[in-house]
C-alpha cells in the first residue's frame, strides 16, 4: 500500500522521535520540537530508500512481542550459560530447516533476527522466496520439536503483527 | 581589505579550485581561462606582497584573530614572498602548456592545479609548524594526483614510490612536530625559536633529535641523497608540463629547511645553531656526484632533466649547508634559476615528445625535430641549466663558487661544480644533436600510438620561462640585492620573531 506523501512512515516517525529524545537524554521543549521536525523530515527525505512500508497491525501486540523476546533472551542466555561452560561433548549441534509462511520481507527479517538473538539458534540462510530458514542450533536434541516451538512462539505473533 | 592580501595566495586558489570542482562537468574551454586568470591574479598578488615586504618589512596575518603563539599566523617575509612569486610565475606557463590539450588526458587538471598552488602557497606562508605539516599534505596529495595525471605504466609505477615514501615522510613529520611540541609546548615557529633558545640543557638532545628528523623529512622532499631516489623516475615519467610544475616541489623541501631550520636552529639556538649543516654538506656533495652520473648516463631528455634536478638539489643543499650570507644569497638565486629553467626544459621536452611521436624523447631513435624555434629554445634552456654563460645558470654557479670560498676543504665542491657543468655540456650536446640534428624529420602524425587526440604542446610557455632567465641575468643587480637582504633576514630572524610575537598574550576572539 502506498504511504501518504507527507508522512511516509508513521511508525518510523514515532521511533525516530523516541530515538531523538533518548539521544538528547532529556525532555525539553527544544528537544521535542527539533525531534518532531526530524522525525517527520528524515523519513520523508529518505523515502526513496525504503519504498515498501511495513504495516504494523497492532502496536500493543508488538510491544508484547518485544517484551516476550526480551524475556526469552534472558532465559535462554541462562541456558546457554550452562551449555557453554559445560562439557562440549554433551552438545547436540544441528542444522535445522524451518519452513515459514510469512510473506513480508520485513516480517521474515524480524523472525530471522529474533531467532538469532535468542540463544541456541542462529539464522544462517534464508531460502529462495523466503519459504524456509536454515538455522544452526547449538543444542537440539529434537529438531522437529524445536521448529514447532519457534514457529509457535515467534512466527505466529509476527504474522499477526505484520500481515 | 588590503590587510587580507596576505591570505589571498591561499584563499584565491582554494576558491578557484572549489569553483572549478563545483562545475567539474563544465567544458575545458571554460576551465582553462578561469585557471589562467586566477593564476595571473595570483601572480599580481604575489608581486604586490613582495613589494610590500620590501617596503614595510615582515607582515603577519593573525588567523581567527587569535594572537600568536596561540592561533595560527601567516608570515610573509622576503623569503615567503620570493617563493610565492617563483610559484606564480611557474604556474602560468604550466597552465598554458596543459591547456593545449594535455589537460584532456586526465580528470580535473585545472582544479588540481589550483589546489596545488594553494598547498604550495600555504606552506610558504604559514608560521606554524603543524600547519606547515597540513599544507605539506595538501601540496603532496595534489601532487600525487598530478603526477599520475594521464596514466600509463611508468607514471603509475613512479607514483607508487613517490606516494609511499612521502606517506612515510609525513609520519616522520608528525613525530618530529610532536616531539617539538612535547618538549617546547608550542607550535608557533617564532615562539618555538624563543623557547629553544631558553631550553634546559637536559632537553637539548631531544630537540636536536627532532630537528634532525625534520631535516630528514625536508630532505626527502628536496630529494637529497640518499632520500631523493624517487625523483628521477617520477619526474621523467610525469606529463611534461606536470614535471615542469614539479620543479617547485623539490624546492619546497629546501624552503622548509631555510625557514624552519633557519628560525629554530639559527644563531639564537646556542648549541643547536647550524644543526645538520655539516652532515648535509657531505650528502649534498654525494647528491651532486650521483646527479652527474645520472646526467651522463641518461638516454632520453626527460630522464636527463630529472637527473639535472638531482644535481641542482645537491648544489642547493651544499649552498645551504655553507651557512653564510653569501652562500645563502647564491643558493636562493640558484633556486630561482633552477626552478624556472628546469621547468622550461621540461616544457621543451614536452614539445619534443609531442613532435617525435613514438620516438618520444629518446636519444637512441633517429628522428629529428625540424623546428628551428624549438631547437633555439632547447639551446637556450640547456645553456641556462648547464650553467653556461650568458644565462642565469652561470651567474648562480659563479656566485656559489665565490661563496664557497677557496680553502682546501672546498676542493671537492669546486670539482663537482665544474664536473656538473661539464656533464651538462656533454649530455645536452648529445641530447641536442640526437633530437634536433639526427635522422629523418620526425612526424608525430605518422606515429602508431598517436591518434587524433594527440595533445599538442606549444613552445610559447617555455619561452616565457626562458625569458625569465634573461631577466634574472639582465636584472640581476636588484634581484641579488633582494636575495642578499633575504639571506640576511634568514640569518638574523629576530625581526620575524618580533613581527610575529609583538604583544604575546593578548586574548583573542571577536
Amino acid at each position: 500500500m502506498r504511504a501518504r506523501s507527507w508522512l511516509p512512515h508513521p511508525t518510523l516517525t514515532l521511533v525516530l522521535f523516541l530515538i531523538w529524545l533518548l539521544l538528547m537524554n532529556s525532555i525539553t521543549p527544544g528537544a521535542m520540537v527539533l525531534g518532531a521536525l526530524l522525525a517527520w523530515s528524515l523519513p520523508t527525505l529518505t523515502r526513496a530508500f525504503w519504498p515498501e512500508v511495513p504495516q504494523v497491525n497492532s502496536s500493543w501486540k508488538m510491544l508484547g512481542f518485544i517484551l516476550m523476546v526480551l524475556g526469552d533472551i534472558v532465559h535462554a542466555n541462562l541456558v546457554a550459560f550452562r551449555l557453554i561452560l559445560g562439557p562440549t561433548r554433551k552438545l547436540h549441534p544441528a542444522w535445522i530447516e524451518m519452513p515459514i509462511d510469512l510473506q513480508d520481507k520485513f516480517a521474515v527479517t524480524i523472525l530471522a533476527s529474533t531467532i538469532s538473538l535468542t540463544p541456541g539458534t542462529v539464522t544462517v540462510e534464508v531460502g529462495r522466496g523466503h519459504k524456509k530458514l536454515l538455522i544452526h542450533a547449538l543444542n537440539a536434541e529434537d529438531p522437529v520439536a524445536l521448529v514447532a516451538h519457534l514457529k509457535a512462539r515467534y512466527e505466529t505473533p509476527i504474522r499477526e503483527i505484520f500481515e | 581589505m588590503s590587510q587580507h592580501l596576505l591570505i589571498l595566495p591561499i584563499l584565491l586558489p582554494l576558491f578557484t579550485g572549489a569553483v572549478l570542482l563545483l562545475f567539474s562537468g563544465a567544458r575545458l574551454a571554460w576551465k582553462r581561462p578561469v585557471n589562467l586568470v586566477a593564476s595571473l591574479v595570483l601572480l599580481l598578488v604575489s608581486v604586490l606582497l613582495l613589494l610590500r615586504v620590501t617596503e614595510a618589512g615582515t607582515q603577519v596575518y593573525v588567523l581567527g584573530n587569535w594572537v600568536a603563539p596561540f592561533g595560527i599566523v601567516l608570515v610573509v617575509d622576503r623569503l615567503s614572498a620570493l617563493m610565492l612569486v617563483i610559484t606564480a610565475v611557474l604556474a602560468i606557463p604550466v597552465i598554458l602548456a596543459m591547456s593545449a590539450g594535455t589537460d584532456r588526458t586526465g580528470q580535473n587538471f585545472h582544479g588540481l592545479m589550483q589546489f596545488q598552488l594553494m598547498g604550495l602557497n600555504g606552506a610558504f606562508l604559514t608560521g606554524d609548524l603543524f600547519n606547515l605539516f597540513v599544507f605539506f599534505e595538501i601540496l603532496l596529495i595534489a601532487s600525487y594526483a598530478l603526477l599520475v595525471f594521464g596514466g600509463g605504466r611508468a607514471r603509475v609505477a613512479a607514483s607508487m614510490h613517490y606516494v609511499i615514501l612521502n606517506l612515510f615522510g609525513s609520519a616522520l613529520f608528525v613525530i618530529a612536530v610532536g616531539l617539538l611540541y612535547g618538549v617546547t609546548g608550542t607550535l608557533n615557529m617564532a615562539d618555538m625559536a624563543l623557547r629553544i633558545a631558553a631550553l634546559p640543557a637536559e632537553d637539548v638532545a631531544l630537540v636536536r633529535a627532532a630537528g634532525l628528523l625534520l631535516l630528514v623529512v625536508f630532505a626527502l622532499k628536496a630529494a637529497l641523497l640518499p632520500l631523493g631516489m624517487w625523483l628521477p623516475a617520477a619526474y621523467a615519467s610525469a606529463a611534461a608540463p606536470i614535471a615542469a610544475l614539479f620543479a617547485i616541489m623539490s624546492k619546497v623541501g629546501l624552503y622548509a629547511i631555510f625557514r624552519v631550520h633557519g628560525l629554530l636552529f639559527g644563531e639564537m639556538a646556542g648549541p643547536l645553531a647550524g644543526l645538520g649543516q655539516s652532515l648535509v654538506w657531505w650528502l649534498a656533495l654525494a647528491t651532486m656526484l650521483l646527479g652527474i652520473l645520472g646526467v651522463l648516463g641518461a638516454r632520453d631528455l626527460r630522464t636527463l632533466l630529472a637527473w639535472q634536478v638531482i644535481v641542482s638539489v645537491g648544489t642547493l643543499m651544499a649552498g645551504w649547508s655553507l651557512g653564510t650570507q653569501e652562500a645563502w644569497t647564491a643558493a636562493l638565486f640558484y633556486m630561482v634559476h633552477s626552478t624556472w629553467m628546469t621547468a622550461a626544459l621540461f616544457l621543451i621536452a614536452g614539445v619534443v615528445v609531442a613532435r617525435r611521436g613514438d620516438a618520444k624523447d629518446s636519444f637512441m631513435v633517429d628522428a629529428r625535430v625540424a623546428s628551428p624555434a624549438v631547437g633555439l629554445a632547447f639551446i637556450a634552456g640547456a645553456v641556462a641549466l648547464a650553467g653556461l654563460p650568458p644565462l642565469s645558470g652561470f651567474v648562480g654557479k659563479a656566485l656559489l663558487l665565490q661563496a664557497a670560498g677557496f680553502s682546501g676543504d672546498m676542493t671537492v665542491f669546486w670539482v663537482l661544480m665544474l664536473c656538473a657543468g661539464l656533464a651538462g655540456l656533454l649530455a645536452f650536446s648529445r641530447a641536442g644533436t640526437s633530437l634536433f640534428w639526427r635522422g629523418p624529420v620526425a612526424d608525430a602524425t605518422t606515429a602508431t600510438t598517436a591518434s587524433t587526440d594527440q595533445p599538442s604542446m606549444p613552445l610559447m610557455p617555455a619561452l616565457l620561462l626562458l625569458a625569465m632567465s634573461v631577466l634574472l641575468v639582465a636584472g640581476g643587480g636588484p634581484i641579488l640585492d633582494y636575495l642578499a637582504a633575504t639571506a640576511d633576514a634568514l640569518l638574523q630572524p629576530t625581526e620575524l620573531i618580533r613581527a610575529v610575537l609583538g604583544d604575546r598574550y593578548l586574548p583573542g576572539g571577536a
Binding site: - | 605504466r153 603509475v156 609520519a171
Partner: protein, 140 residues
C-alpha cells in the same frame, strides 16, 4: 602507564615498519596504516597522559592537554585520506602493471621496451582467490 603507552607505540611502529619493508603493495599499505596508529598515539602522548580529565569545560576538574588531541584529530583525517588514496593507487597499479609488487622492474626508460609494455622480469601472477581456498590458510 607511560611505559605501557611507550611500549604500544614501539610495537606498532616496529610492526608497521616491518610491513612497509615488504615487496608487495598490500602489506605496505597495512604497514602505513599501522605506522599511522603509532604516530597518532605518539602525537597524542606528547600532551602527556591524563585520566578522568577530558578537555570539556565543566565536565572534569582537570583537563588533559587539548592541543595534541586536536592535532591527532587532524592527523587521523589526513591519514584516512592518504590511506584511501594509496589503496586506490595500488589497485590502479595492479591493473596497469599487472602485478602487485611495489617495484616495476621493467625499465621504462629503456627505449622501445616501454611502449610494448614488455616485462623483463617475468612477474609471477599471484594465485587467484579461486585457487586459494579459505584465504590460503592451512585447514585444521
Amino acid at each position: 602507564m607511560e611505559l605501557l603507552m611507550a611500549v604500544s607505540i614501539g610495537v606498532l611502529t616496529a610492526c608497521g615498519i616491518y610491513l612497509m619493508l615488504r615487496a608487495r603493495t598490500f602489506p605496505v599499505v597495512m604497514g602505513l596504516m599501522m605506522l599511522g596508529y603509532a604516530v597518532n598515539l605518539f602525537l597524542f602522548s606528547m600532551g602527556r597522559l591524563a585520566t578522568e580529565a577530558p578537555a570539556v569545560i565543566g565536565r572534569a576538574e582537570t583537563h588533559a592537554d587539548p592541543l595534541p588531541q586536536a592535532l591527532v584529530l587532524t592527523a587521523i583525517v589526513i591519514g584516512f585520506a592518504m590511506t584511501a588514496y594509496v589503496v586506490i593507487l595500488i589497485i590502479r597499479g595492479r591493473k596497469t602493471l599487472e602485478h602487485d609488487y611495489v617495484d616495476d622492474r621493467v625499465n621504462e626508460r629503456d627505449h622501445g621496451v616501454a611502449e610494448q609494455g614488455l616485462s623483463k622480469r617475468a612477474v609471477p601472477m599471484p594465485p587467484t582467490p579461486a585457487s586459494a581456498e579459505t584465504d590460503g590458510e592451512p585447514r585444521p
